[in-house]
């Protein structure tokens, strides 16, 4: 939609042959071709699909970037030999895309811009190294992808190809058409290079296996994973590093990619422990690893590496124990998830609920000491806490006194002992000023059960009547 008219966002090959062009109004197009099939443009879905293709292309190189609006740029520096050279790689990409029903325009050149210009405006395929400039100079000025006015201005000046433009002094060019055009020209001609920004940050360490024939049976799958993990461990050891996360990418022959992440609490390169975590991870998958028609590549990436020196075991065995506990945490986190394996951190507040923060045991623990309990005193805080507090019906003998009887979960408790109130004011800087004051009582009933009750509001106040809540249970 543009200027209240429906316009064509894009046309396929046949439509172009019939004379339709981008940005033509739909009414015009329909007038020319009555049985035109028009679908609403879905840029979001297009992007999502492109991302999927990008994930698939991850098998060729870890550096895949989106080339707006419809393309992908792959940095294949040093990767092509794995696929039988650049020609073999290009063939493979073409085959795979064909199989998925995608048409492909691809070029391999010295810079991202040169490759883009070639694939869109010039000779596709491989531009031999060193011949970039010679080939690219022949491209039309449209390859600069400048504003239409600029292109018209250039052609009016008699500049038809990039060679013509490049023959002009660069200063006049930037003075007339802006610096961006001059930069673009330099980049296309390979005078200047640029790094692409990959969609996924390149991992510190990658090991992978490609298979000529896809396979699907789990036994050989695990054998491959074992070998990859061992290989990664050796690479990391040689570097004196350990990984905090390990990402296994399973590339299916039909193009889908499944990724599994194993995380460890500390840097690790212990192949045996990693393999155990991997098995744990596989076992807990909600939807199991579906090989489909088989995997044709498996890749183990270590996104984050940290220095890890070989440890000398101390004699007291303390370090060994700590390590064993850390391993246990890793296994539990892998099986139950980060948010289910917890440690408590002390918080400096009087608010009963916020006094402790449950943090994932996989995350580093902030050093905060817990206050030492008052010697000789009974516990002042309950062992278990209800959140939210449970409303109870309570009767107090005197307005500001402890309850003498209360009903909780349909049971009546007669209070035998009580202590309080301990008044805890709300944290107005967090809760707002509406939160009422709480008067807490430690209470023991006739059966010896110990409760933590509180009252909000006051009996004499004219506003809301006081309400009682049960907030916790003491041992």
């Amino acid at each position: 939609m543009q200027g209240n008219a429906l316009r064509l966002a894009d046309c396929d090959r046949r439509a172009v042959r019939l004379g339709l062009t981008r940005a033509m109004t739909l009414a015009d197009a329909r007038a020319r071709i009555p049985d035109l099939v028009a679908l609403e443009a879905e840029p979001q879905a297009d992007r999502a699909f492109l991302d999927e293709v990008a994930a698939f292309c991850d098998r060729f190189t870890p550096l895949v970037a989106r080339d707006e609006p419809h393309g992908l740029t792959l940095d294949v520096t040093g990767c092509a030999h794995l696929f039988g050279g650049e020609a073999g790689m290009l063939d493979l990409v073409r085959q795979v895309m064909d199989r998925s029903g995608l048409s492909l325009r691809a070029a391999i050149a010295g810079t991202p811009e040169a490759a883009r210009a070639c694939s869109r405006f010039g000779p596709r395929g491989i531009i031999p190294p060193g011949r970039d400039e010679a080939v690219l100079r022949l491209l039309p000025v449209a390859a600069l992808e400048a504003e239409p006015e600029t292109v018209i201005a250039l052609s009016r000046a008699g500049l038809k190809t990039l060679a013509d433009v490049a023959a002009r002094p660069s200063e006049t060019l930037s003075a007339r058409f802006g610096e961006a055009l001059a930069v673009k020209l330099r980049r296309i001609l390979g005078h200047e290079d640029r790094r692409i920004t990959p969609l996924r940050p390149p991992p510190d360490c990658v090991v992978e296996r490609h298979f000529p024939e896809p396979f699907a049976d789990t036994a050989s799958l695990e054998a491959v994973v074992v070998r990859l993990i061992g290989e990664a461990a050796r690479v990391l050891e040689a570097r004196g590093e350990g990984g905090r996360a390990f990402e296994l990418g399973f590339f299916r022959s039909d193009g889908t990619v499944r990724r599994l992440v194993i995380e460890t609490g500390r840097p690790s390169r212990d192949a045996k422990a990693l393999l155990r975590l991997y098995r744990e991870r596989i076992e807990t998958l909600a939807d199991p690893l579906d090989p489909g028609f088989g995997f044709d590549a498996i890749k183990l990436a270590v996104p984050v590496c940290e220095p890890l020196n070989t440890q000398q075991h101390s004699l007291d065995g303390r370090a060994v124990e700590e390590e064993a506990v850390a391993d246990l945490v890793d296994r539990l986190v892998t099986r139950f998830g980060r948010d289910r394996v917890l440690r408590f951190a002390a918080q400096d507040t009087h608010h009963p609920v916020r006094a402790a923060k449950a943090l994932s045991a996989a995350a580093p623990m902030p050093e905060a000491a817990w206050p030492a309990p008052e010697p000789q005193e009974p516990p002042a805080r309950p062992l278990q806490l209800f959140e939210p507090p449970q409303p109870v019906e309570a009767i107090a003998e005197v307005p500001d006194g402890p309850p003498i009887r209360f009903r909780w979960r349909r049971l009546i408790h007669d209070v035998a002992r009580a202590e309080g109130p301990e008044r805890i004011a709300p944290e107005w800087w967090r809760d707002g000023s509406d939160e009422p004051m709480r008067d807490y009582y430690r209470v023991e009933d006739a059966q010896g059960r110990r409760f933590w009750l509180y009252r909000t509001g006051f009996y004499e106040a004219e506003s809301a009547p006081p309400r009682w809540f049960l907030h916790g249970l003491f041992a």
């Binding site: 006094a355 278990q384 023991e444 004499e460 041992a475």
Partner: protein, 293 residues
């Protein structure tokens, strides 16, 4: 011939002597409770490398049972060299327990003597998860104790599961405590089985509730107990400062529950004044004891 045997024999003798040297209660793999009577009845205490069950008598007694189990875990995790050598404790809890009896409250754990920094808590969705995490913990010798807390009588916690836990505990030497609530007694491989009911605490000044107290019953003990059935019931109190249970022998049922009326003046008398009745506020000499306000 004689000469060939003797070195082996002397080796054996030496290792026996060493074993005898280490046969104090701690080294023999026993966790004493601290309360002399119970320790005597159990000839030294609970076996460390074993599975023990703690049953809450009813749902409402779970907090007490939890407190008792935590006490046992703390005793078991206590290093021989003192408190700084104390090992971490793994606590596996089913989500449903949280919903039913409240979440574990770290300051409350701290008040009972467990530094929350030493606690590793796993929240499992279902009984199977509880069992898995518990077994994983029971196999890790670096832990001081494992507390496993499922809800009800899940099918996963059958005899086989308890045998597996017991074996894991024997291998690793980690005290494994199974806390059962809303469950009837079932055959298991546990070394001991306890039933816990809360007990009225010894009142402090102004009738305030005192230290946590429990009435224990030893339902089962593999290898038998000294004394008859009546002697398998104890009343104990948890002393956090000593990290030990203490016997509550000096205890008279009549003096605990129903406070005599004149025992509890500090709360009632002065507070009447708040009603606005100036006459009643002219209280007795002990109105200085007023605590509320």
């Amino acid at each position: 011939m004689q000469n060939a045997i003797s070195p082996a024999l002397s080796d054996l003798r030496r290792s026996l002597a060493e074993a005898a040297l280490r046969s104090g209660p701690a080294a023999a793999g026993k966790v004493s409770l601290g309360a002399a009577e119970i320790d005597a009845a159990l000839s030294g205490g609970l076996e460390r490398a074993a599975l023990h069950e703690v049953y809450a008598a009813g749902t409402a007694d779970l907090a007490a049972a939890t407190g008792f189990a935590l006490g046992l875990a703390l005793r078991a995790a206590q290093g021989e060299a003192g408190d700084d050598a104390a090992r971490p404790i793994l606590w596996v809890r089913q989500d449903f327990v949280d919903a039913e009896t409240g979440r574990l409250h770290a300051p409350g754990l701290n008040e009972l003597g467990l530094d929350p920094g030493r606690l590793l808590l796993v929240r499992a969705r279902d009984a199977l998860g509880v069992l898995r995490a518990g077994a994983e913990g029971a196999r890790c010798p670096a832990l001081g104790a494992v507390l496993i807390e499922p809800w009800g009588e899940p099918r996963a916690f059958d005899l086989t599961a308890s045998r597996r836990l017991a074996l894991a505990a024997e291998d690793s030497g980690v005290a494994t405590l199974l806390l059962r609530v809303a469950a009837a007694e079932a055959p298991s491989a546990a070394r001991t089985r306890w039933q816990v009911v809360p007990l009225a605490s010894r009142a402090l000044e102004a009738n305030a509730p005192g230290a946590p107290a429990f009435a224990l019953r030893l339902l089962r003990h593999r290898g038998g107990v000294r004394g008859d059935a009546a002697e398998r019931e104890w009343r104990v109190e948890w002393n956090r400062d000593r990290c030990a249970f203490e016997n509550r022998t000096v205890f008279d049922r009549s003096d605990r529950l129903i406070p005599r009326r004149n025992d509890v003046p500090p709360l009632s008398r002065p507070l009447v004044s708040l009603s606005g009745d100036g006459q009643a506020a002219a209280a007795g000499p002990d109105s200085g004891l007023r605590r509320a306000g």
